[in-house]
């Protein structure tokens, strides 16, 4: 379907697609097998300027928005969700600086991020703080001109590989959710180390580790925003990143669908290619329709975000929940269309199915997304009364 993309947006899509096809598809199975971090691909993405897509031009980026990022993420996800997670998590970790950073922080970090020289990670989740961010136990205590950070973050994408970490820690427990603050911590800071690398079901090319802070001292200037605004920083960051997760869903679904169609045209049973059977056609028709609906929603919400709309929580949650549920269903159905072949590692759809599952879980489970939508509906109803 034509989404009336600008010439530049088409250029971004074509370049991301070229990288996906030439550099990612040939190695995705191996990356899935070994769990090796895709540094070569990250270098290619850096060279192509894609890391700078959403970063303002004054900091060396291209000054584009959520839609352009969504378009690029979709194309990378079509090839490999592990690689696209690495790329998208970089944006996730950058948003706190982009949305709330001081000019000095932006000048210090954004040019390297835009150039792809330094990778970023976002650290919110902890053992006891997943969906309930209020359970955060990592603390940051101001001592003189430094904050002393203690605690452990878990399941942090790009952990160990990234050089810049934006994290949430409690600066004043007595204030509850208003007692959290956001910080930027650089790899190599004394007291900051990494725990075990997780062995995951899917997105295995992406690195997921613990971040361990043991009396890690960072200068006062590393506070992002003000003390007490940590959860606001996190929520606004997630509002921006959710469309990216939605576009990951669209991408992996499209990738699996393409494989299913290709296979169904070639596979002959009862003397005919299986795509001529109505049972298969109906599955493919539902897959295609839901992918198109998901893409339309993700693009529409991305455009809403880019318009500068103040509150996009509800819409971005809708884009995330819908597109990632579509991704799960379509990848499962792609395996079904391909039958036994789909289940085998010779074909990429079993990987896509394993990869897709994370989309319903990370950056806010789809149950939490529905809470976000529900809360917004209540607020809207009360306002309209």
């Amino acid at each position: 379907m034509d989404y009336f993309l600008t010439e530049e947006q088409v250029m971004i899509r074509d370049l991301a697609r070229q990288i996906a096809e030439e550099k990612i598809v040939p190695v995705r199975a191996e990356l899935d097998e070994t769990g090796e971090f895709p540094w070569d691909i990250m270098k290619t993405l850096a060279q192509s300027d894609l890391f700078g897509l959403f970063i303002p031009e004054e900091y060396g980026g291209l000054g584009k928005g959520s839609l352009e990022l969504a378009i690029a993420v979709e194309e990378l996800s079509r090839a490999c969700l592990g690689v696209s997670t690495t790329f998208a998590a970089n944006a996730l970790g950058t948003y706190p600086l982009l949305l709330f950073g001081t000019d000095a922080q932006k000048k210090k970090f954004l040019p390297d991020i835009a150039a792809g020289k330094r990778l970023v990670a976002f650290g919110l989740t902890e053992a006891n703080a997943g969906s309930d961010a209020g359970g955060t136990q990592t603390t940051a205590k101001l001592e003189g001109n430094e904050y002393v950070i203690n605690g452990t973050k878990q399941w942090i994408t790009n952990g160990g590989e990234a050089e810049i970490y934006t994290i949430i820690a409690i600066t004043d427990r007595s204030k509850g959710p208003r007692g959290a603050s956001a910080f930027v911590v650089e790899k190599g800071t004394p007291g900051f180390t990494f725990g075990k690398k997780e062995n995951k079901m899917g997105i295995r090319a992406s690195a997921t580790t613990e971040l361990i802070f043991d009396n890690c001292r960072v200068p006062k200037e590393n506070l992002i925003g003000k003390e007490g605004t940590g959860f606001l920083v996190a929520m606004k960051t997630l509002d921006h990143s959710r469309t990216g997760v939605g576009s990951q869903g669209v991408g992996v679904a499209q990738g699996a669908f393409d494989e299913a169609v290709k296979f169904a045209r070639q596979r002959v049973q009862f003397g005919h290619p299986v795509i001529t059977f109505q049972a298969v056609q109906h599955m493919l028709a539902d897959m295609a329709t839901s992918i198109e609906a998901a893409r339309a929603l993700v693009y529409a919400v991305s455009r809403l975000v880019d318009s500068g709309a103040k509150d996009v929580s509800k819409e971005s949650a809708m884009a995330k929940v819908f597109a990632t549920d579509v991704a799960m269903k379509v990848t499962v159905d792609a395996v079904q269309v391909m039958g036994g072949s789909g289940y085998m590692k010779e074909y990429p759809v079993e990987k896509m199915m394993r990869d897709a599952k994370i989309l319903q879980i990370y950056e806010g489970t789809n149950q939490i997304q529905r809470n976000v939508i529900g809360q917004a509906l209540i607020k809207e109803a009360a306002r309209n009364k």
């Binding site: 990288i19 030439e22 192509s48 300027d49």
Partner: protein
Amino acid sequence: MKIVVCVKQVPDTAEVRINPETNTLMRDGVPSIINPYDLHAVEAGLQLREMAGGEVTTVTMGPPQAELALRETISLGVDKAVLLTDRLFAGSDTWATAYALYKAIAHIGADIIICGKQAIDGDTAQVGPEIAEFLDIPHIAYIRKIVEVTADRIVVQRLMDDGYDIVESTLPVLLTVVRELNVPRLPSLKGKMAAKKADILKLTAADLKVEEQDLGLKGSPTQVRNIFAPEAKTNRTMLHGTPEEMVNKLVADLQESKCL
């Protein structure tokens, strides 16, 4: 350092169609790409610029649409591009092509000229060395590695059948490159945006101050008389018997035909 890379736009298909009357390529309807070897030449130029500074200019001779190939090289990071386009250039063989490119390169000026080892359509591998001869400068063909470059000399590895030579040359020099040299980069977004806006310098025969008789079909000492597919001739012999008998017969036959 002034680096000039020669590129050629070629049809992107193994099924090249030939105009039966002129015996030249029919380009209509066939998608065009940059000759793959030339992408390695462009990459070499960009890497040399990273090593030694300077600027990279791509040059091509071709019909007006060859401009697209040049814009593609700009999207890869090339600084400038020059298109030699003129009806008078049409029908050039490798001699006339090299002559026109030589005039253009002499016009631009170059310390290092890089060409792909050959084009995938003609497969002659002649144009690069011919340009060097016209310019009266040394050339090193089939280079697989650039070892060192300074302001006035270069050291490279030249691919041979059974290994490689290490060759040192003064500048200016012309190099032709093989695939082993590097992995061509993909374009960047900033490069693609620059490519859209870039001014491509267009030169005609008049701009190069060359005579009509030195160009195109008239300036080409070789003319294609006929293009045809060679008849496939295969002599197959089936051997029969026990494995020992068949091996003995095979060895005897190979010895008889002086293959062993």
